[in-house]
Amino acid sequence: MDLQHFAKQIRYYTLKELNHLGFGHYGGSLSLVETLAVLYGAEMNASPAKRTDPDRDYFVLSKGHAGPALYATLFLKGYFDEDFLYSLNQNGTNLPSHPDCNKTPGVDMTTGSLGQGISAATGIAKGNKILGKSNYTFAVVGDGELNEGQCWEAFQFAAHHQLDHLVVLIDDNKKQLDGYTSEISEPFDFVEKMTAFGFNSWRIPGNDIEAIQAAIQKAKSLSGKPVAIVLDTIKGYGVPYVAEMKDNHHIRPNAQGVQALKDAVTTLGHELGLGGNE
């Protein structure tokens, strides 16, 4: 699969989905697009046919508010149709802001209360290890989410139990809800922290598809310790209007913003050869 193309598709549909609703978590959804492209486009053993296959790889979006990017990816993978994608947050929907494993096909674990998904991911990895399986568990946490003490309990558990089939992806986009992570609670060096917590950890350009793919392949080649890949990302990546906005966590655009976000869809659509934008 052409991962560059897949990433562009994910970004395109993430925007269309959020624009259809009119507001939402644009910043943290967009920073994750390349990672989702690599996971679902190449590195993760997951597909609609294997939805309940216990040997599939598992995915936990611990920073659940990035659900819209995951949903665009699941739609493109064929877990559900396009109309379902635009039901995001509509009354009575099965596609809520935060992933719900009882509502949305392809969601392995319910998240949205920050810090809890990563613990569940360690449990999934431990469960599969007890069962003697060799499948992987991938978990995405936010840099702000790592404020939560529960994340560090999860890491201690993962390291102690040598969960080397757990790959933690830290979306280090330098911002949380109220602003810059370093101004709210200095994170220091995630690689040093994760290493001290017993992980194999290193930092990569987190919106670079080749770098992400190489890192995940390297993670699979290592054993004995869980892996934490620190993704050096930009919040709102790939959509200048969002990336350049200071408070880009949750956007409720004014008329001008609505136009800018529409234009971004058009631009991406052209690049994808999709022509018009409805």
């Binding site: 009354n91 209360s113 003490g149 809800l177 609670s185």
Partner: protein, 307 residues
Amino acid sequence: MKEMEMRQVYAQTILELSRKDQRVVALEADLSSSMSTNQLKEEMKDRYINVGIMEAEQVGAAAGLAVTGFIPFIHTFAPFASRRVFDQVFISLGYAQKHAIIVGSDAGVTAEMNGGTHMPFEDVALMRAIPKNHVYDVSDPYEFKAVLEHCYQAPGLHYIRTIRKQATSLYDAQTNFSEGVITVREGTDTTIFATGIMVAEALAAAEILEEQGISVKVIDAFRVKPLNAAAVVQAAKMGPIVTAENHNVIGGLGSAVAEITAEQYPTKLARIGVKEQFGQVGKADYLMEVYQLTCQDIVDAVKRVLN
């Protein structure tokens, strides 16, 4: 002030209190921009603390600040201020008997698009179970301000749940909130005890019922704990009771009223509230229909208890 959003009432009241009392500290957990308190930092300086996404630390640190003589105001979304940190609140603030004020925002269905993870239908129940805790579910800007000022003065632990945005205006600067209940409408056949956004629904229900010849008294029971038992017994003596809350029927206002009537003056009672369901995304008005919290649901309940 009646035009003010509840979050602005919170921010402004904290600022006023902090100007006259250096002991006032405000703690946030990465939801200050959602509560309009990000503006407080400039003036309150190091007495305004955004701890980050660390609700357990927020509560624990608040307890420590109380040890050193500060009066902490703790805000985050209600699910995180209650179920997420229940043991921290229970032990470090409740059991340790600290003076602290917890404000949980986005009460019940008003969490809207944030869905089930963020939608609190059990915070009042949890908070009521903490010995000596005071629990409030406010309906109006003046009421919220009065409760905040009261909590600042009264030692002990206080939990206030509120919506973040515009509330219905019911009161003014002259309203006396000291009894913990306010009669917002007189009536003779039955009494509705309501809290928060359900006070407006109860009033709408009373209007509809009046046209049908049923006279309904409506009480805003914003202080859910300790609930004004005399007001409940008085209502029970008059006739059947209906309760209405934007919360689970287990452990909230409905339970509190039932506990008093069952022991002191048994009467017919119906509880309007969320029944055995989790939250979900949706607009508040839609969710009120789903969870049967509308004025029509109250009308039906009144007719049931009167039959």
